[in-house]
Amino acid sequence: MCGIVGLFLKDKTLEPRLGAMLADMLIVMTDRGPDSAGIAIYGAPSGGRAKITVQSSRPAVDFAGLEALLKHLDAGVTVDLKSTHAVIETDAMQAAAVRDLLAEQRPDVRVMGSGDSIEIYKEVGLPKDVVARFGIREMGGTHGIGHTRMATESAVTTLGAHPFSTGADQCLVHNGSLSNHNNLRRELVREGMRFETQNDSEVAAAYLTNEMAKGKDLGQALTSALDDLDGFFTFVVGTKSGFGVVRDPIACKPAVMAETDQYIAFGSEYRALVNLPGIEDARVWEPEPATVYFWDHEKAA
C-alpha cells in the first residue's frame, strides 16, 4: 500500500491553511503505510531567493554554526532549523555555491529539495509525528503533496521516504512498485542524473526531471512516463506552479480526486478528502487509467 494526498489551491484565501489541510488529510491515511511520512509544500516564491531544504541525522552537529559558515558566501542567508531539517534561504545566484560548500564542509547533510518555492520534510515515523515535528500545520502555500509509506522496494530510511525531489521545485510521490527501475536508473545515470537511494520511486522522479529538462512540460513528461515506466503506479507530482496525476494502465492502486471552485484535491481514498471545505458538493471522480491530469497556476492565471 502507501497513502498519497495532494492539494492544489485555486482560492487564495485558503493558502494560509494549506499545511493544516494537508496534514489532516495525510494523518487519515496513516493505516495505508506507517513506515515513514513526508510532505512537500510550495510556498510563495520570494523574488531572486532560493530555498534549499537539508536534512541531517545529527542536526546538533551538522547544523551548528551553519548560518555563520554560509554567510561567507551570502551575507543575507538565513537558516531556519526544524528538527532534523533546515531550510536555507539564499540569493538564487549563490544557491549552487551554497550546495558545494555544504558538500565540502557538512558531508553528512543531505539535500531534500531545492528551488524557488518548494520545501520538503520527510522522516521515518507516523504522519502525526512527522507533521508535528516539522510544524507543517503552520505552513501556508499554493499547493502541496503528502505521502505515508509502506516500504516495498528499498529500506525504511529518511532518504527512502517520499516525496522524492530530483530537480528544482519538482517532487513526486508514488503508490505502487516499478519493475524496470534498475535499467532506467542506469540509463538516467548515463544521461547525467544522480541518485541518492536504490528506491524505484526516485527513478520515476528522476525520469520526469530528465524529460522536463529536455523541454517537455509536466503533462508531456507524464505522458512519456506511461510508455517508459513499467509496473504499478499512481503518481502525484508537483512543480513550481503545477500539479499532476497519472495512473498506470492496470490502475489497481487507488485514487480519488475532488474539485471545487476552491481547490483540486487528491487522496488514495475518499476518507482523506472528507474534511475539505465544500466536499459534499465537490465533483468527485476516480482518475482514469493511463490518463494524464495536470493543472498549472501559471497557465490558469
Binding site: A251, P254, R271
Partner: protein, 240 residues
C-alpha cells in the same frame, strides 16, 4: 402494509453515527440479529469513506447508508438490502451470497467481485474489474464500466446501460454480459452472441428489478464465452 405496522418498524430503526460510534458496533449489531426478529431497519450516518461498512450480514435486514463508503462495503452480504446514498470504494458487495446492494453514486474497482448471488445495482459508473470472477451474482450498472470487467466470470449476469472498457469478459466462462453502449474491446475468448428470447426475458426482469423503466432489452447486445479456453490447448497458446 398496515400503517400501524409500518410506524412500528420505523420506530425500530436503529441509527449508527460513525462519527461517534466505532464501526465494529454497527457490524456486531448486524451480526447479532436472530432469525425472525422484527428489528431489522438500520441507518448509518457519517460513514465518511469508512471501510467494511455493513459486512457479513446474514439476515434480511435493511441498511440505509447516508454518504460515501470506502473499501468492501456490504461484503459477503447474505440476504440483506443495503443502499449506499453516495459512492462506494473498492470491492463493494464482494462475494455477495444473496440480497440486494444498491449504490446511488459511483463504485470503484472490482464491484461485486466473486459474488455468488443476489443483485448489485450501481446507479452511476463502475470502475475497472466490475464483476471479476462473478459466480452467480447479477449486476446492473446504470452508467459505464471500466476495463477487465467480468474477467473469468463463471455465472450470473452483468448488465451495463452505458459503455464497457477494454478487455470485457476476458477468459470468460458462463457469465452472461449485456451491454447497451460501446465496448472498447473484448477480452480473450469473449464474443458477441445472439440475443434470443430467453435472454431478452431475463434482461427485462433484471432491468425491472434494478428500477430501470425507460430502456428496452432490445437496445443491448449480448456477449459470452467462445468456450475455446476452458481447457489448455497448445493451439490456443497465443490467446492466453
Amino acid at each position: 402494509m398496515d400503517i400501524s405496522v409500518k410506524r412500528e418498524s420505523l420506530e425500530a430503526m436503529r441509527v449508527f453515527d460513525l462519527a461517534t460510534t466505532p464501526l465494529r458496533e454497527l457490524n456486531s449489531a448486524l451480526h447479532a440479529i436472530a432469525p425472525g426478529t422484527n428489528d431489522t431497519n438500520f441507518e448509518v450516518v457519517n460513514p465518511r469513506g469508512s471501510h467494511a461498512v455493513a459486512v457479513g450480514i446474514d439476515q434480511p435486514v435493511t441498511v440505509e447508508v447516508r454518504g460515501s463508503v470506502g473499501y468492501y462495503c456490504a461484503g459477503m452480504n447474505d440476504g440483506g438490502t443495503v443502499t449506499v446514498h453516495g459512492s462506494a470504494g473498492p470491492g463493494v458487495a464482494e462475494n455477495m451470497m444473496s440480497g440486494t446492494v444498491v449504490i446511488e453514486g459511483d463504485a470503484s474497482q472490482y464491484a461485486g467481485a466473486t459474488g455468488r448471488g443476489g443483485l448489485l445495482v450501481i446507479k452511476g459508473n463502475a470502475a475497472s474489474r466490475c464483476g471479476i470472477s462473478m459466480k452467480g451474482i447479477d449486476i446492473v450498472v446504470h452508467g459505464s464500466i471500466g476495463h477487465m470487467s467480468a474477467f473469468m466470470g463463471q455465472s450470473g449476469h452483468l448488465v451495463v446501460l452505458g459503455d464497457a472498457g477494454d478487455a470485457l469478459g476476458d477468459s470468460l466462462y458462463e457469465a452472461k454480459l449485456f451491454v447497451r453502449g460501446a465496448v472498447k474491446s473484448l477480452g480473450a475468448d469473449c464474443i458477441e452472441k445472439e440475443m434470443r428470447s430467453e435472454h431478452l426475458a431475463k434482461l427485462a426482469e433484471l432491468l425491472a428489478r434494478a428500477g430501470v423503466t425507460d430502456v428496452s432489452p432490445t437496445e443491448f447486445k449480448r456477449y459470452g464465452s467462445a468456450r475455446k479456453l476452458y481447457n489448455f490447448n497448445i493451439d490456443n497458446a497465443e490467446a492466453y
